[in-house]
């Protein structure tokens, strides 16, 4: 009898397939995984603690650094929670642009997911193609907010500024081009025997287990649970749009791949519907106690300057109370829970990051599998360490 023993292997925190600084302590029996202990926190910046010392306005830039592959979804969740506490209505144009940008962000995040997931499993071509398409979303970010990633574009009450005239054409061309590209990716992957062998039957998690662990987003729908916050608990005017919520049946990596691809098609449809609704109008609510005055007034009148200075230095008081808003971020339910004590700083801000909770499932999904399949499981969970560690 040969002597056998369990071997402990350290994967990460510097490992290309862990998508950031995730460290996995893996116990292996030969090549099979016996136990996984994820070690997180390498990227902990204390965003929740910092927000207690900053005004609501100053907290906003912290949020787009959470899931840095989907900055606008993070901004949206935070701003909606603050608006719920303030009880202010947003002009229709601002709401529509928010939906367009949230869906552009979903496409961006899913493109990065597809690129990295395919690269991890060994299909490098898709990586290069998907990053080419993602570049258009980055350009759109730059066009409207001046920054490629840290957008900081939404404001309580609307948007920081209106979009430039070329925005509409750029987004429409992008939404028109994506279905063709998606077909191309499908041609490279869906019937590719290597891709199918690596993904079919990999990382299976049943609908009951997925709900129990609290998985949300495409990973939950891949397990056949028909739940999408955009349709089921609508926010930001999503009830005005028609789209399909795809679900999987086999609960494996391949189904989650198919679900995300259909979601990208649906995002294009939502973008087109939103562009059709886009009418000229104000992009900031008429709420001077919360919103910054227009720049012309700041530069040309002392009242405007004082108004600007007051909001910039003191912030705006938010009525006491608490609110929770969950938005369907590309990776799952991103929730913000803010407790206000009536001052201009959050008393407590809790971020419910989807990746943090989805990552809990890694042990259940990869126990007994080969270590090479673990890479596919990490890819299919679509985690971002920025929001796991906060």
């Amino acid at each position: 009898m040969a002597k056998t023993e369990i071997m402990t292997v350290n994967m990460g925190p510097q490992h290309p397939s862990t998508h950031g600084v995730l460290r996995l302590v893996i116990e292996l029996d030969g090549e099979n995984i016996v136990k996984i202990d994820p070690d997180i926190g390498y990227l902990h910046r204390g965003v929740e603690k910092l927000s207690e010392h900053r005004t609501y306005h100053q907290t906003l830039p912290l949020t787009d650094r959470l899931d840095y592959l989907a900055p606008m979804s993070n901004n949206l969740g935070y701003i909606l929670t603050v608006e719920k506490l303030l009880g202010i209505e947003v002009p229709e144009r601002a709401e529509t642009i928010r939906v367009i940008m949230a869906e552009m962000t979903r496409l961006e995040s899913h493109l990065v997911w597809l690129a990295c997931h395919a690269l991890d499993i060994g299909a490098m071509t898709v990586f290069l193609y998907a990053f080419r398409e993602r570049e258009v979303v980055m350009e759109t970010y730059e066009l409207i907010s001046g920054a490629r990633m840290t957008s900081n574009f939404f404001r309580a009450g609307g948007l920081s500024q209106d979009v430039p005239p070329e925005f509409e054409k750029k987004v429409r061309d992008f939404a028109a081009s994506i279905p063709g590209y998606l077909d191309m990716y499908e041609g490279l992957l869906t019937d590719n025997p290597i891709w199918r062998k690596r993904t079919i039957g990999n990382g299976v998690i049943s609908a009951e287990d997925a709900t129990d662990i609290g998985i949300t987003g495409p990973a939950l729908r891949g397990s056949g649970v028909d739940f999408d916050l955009r349709r089921d608990i609508p926010y930001a005017g999503y009830e005005k749009y028609t789209f399909i919520v795809p679900t999987g049946t086999n609960c494996d990596t391949f189904d989650r791949y198919k679900v995300r691809l259909v979601e990208m098609h649906e995002s294009c449809k939502i973008i087109n519907q939103a562009l059709d609704r886009l009418k000229p109008g104000p992009v900031l609510a008429d709420a001077p106690q919360v919103c910054y005055p227009p720049k012309e007034s700041v530069y040309n009148s002392i009242e405007g300057l004082i108004h600007h200075f007051k909001i910039a230095s003191e912030g705006y008081p938010v009525p006491a109370g608490e609110a929770y808003v969950g938005v369907e971020a590309p990776k799952g339910e991103l929730g913000y829970y803010i407790v206000s004590d009536g001052s201009s700083k959050p008393y407590r801000m809790r971020i419910r990051p989807p990746s943090f909770i989805n990552l809990q499932a890694i042990e259940k999904m990869s126990k007994g599998a080969m270590i090479a399949d673990l890479v596919a499981v990490i890819g299919t969970l679509d985690i971002v360490l920025g929001e796991i560690d906060r």
Partner: protein
């Protein structure tokens, strides 16, 4: 905005003695229950009201603002009925422990570890109660209100604007 919430009336019937407060705030329903009945309430909501997902577990530190310093907050979502409910449980500083919800919901595992790490609330019968975001040898609990923003043993942060 409904006048009553479908689960709140059931809870009031079944757990009349242990409900401390029922409140509606901006359309969200919040039920505060006593610490002893937390697991019974969560199990009841899961089994009878189909709140099958424990979306979030967190805590709020009300240092000097309330008699009982901490408030545990449980966000629950029903996939079938597409609605939410929030359960809150006060926890005092002198008896800073509460029964773990992992026996009802698997998602509570890491979420409770995070509360333990950042607030220092102990969860009884938790399968794996370790720090999760901070390093294992860290001293103190950063999200407590008496923990300085720049860490212990440093000049307190005065802010750029003051």
């Amino acid at each position: 905005m409904a006048d009553t919430h479908r689960a709140v009336s059931k809870l009031q019937e079944k757990f009349a003695a242990s409900i401390l407060e029922v409140k509606e705030d901006r359309g969200d329903w919040i039920v505060t229950v006593a610490k002893e009945s937390l697991i019974a309430v969560l199990s009841f909501l899961k089994a009878e009201c189909r709140y099958t997902m424990l979306t979030d577990v967190t805590a709020v530190d009300y240092l000097g603002k309330k008699d009982e310093r901490f408030m545990m907050v449980y966000q629950m979502t029903s996939v079938a009925h597409k609605d939410r409910i929030r359960i809150k449980v006060p926890v005092s500083e002198s008896d800073c422990r509460i029964e773990s919800a992992t026996q009802v919901f698997g998602s509570a595992n890491w979420l409770e570890r995070e509360v333990f790490d950042l607030f220092g609330i102990t969860f009884d019968n938790h399968p794996d109660l370790r720090r999760i975001l901070m390093t294992p040898d860290w001293v103190g609990h950063p999200l407590r209100k008496d923990y300085p923003l720049q860490g212990p043993g440093r000049e307190p942060y005065k802010g750029r604007l003051s």
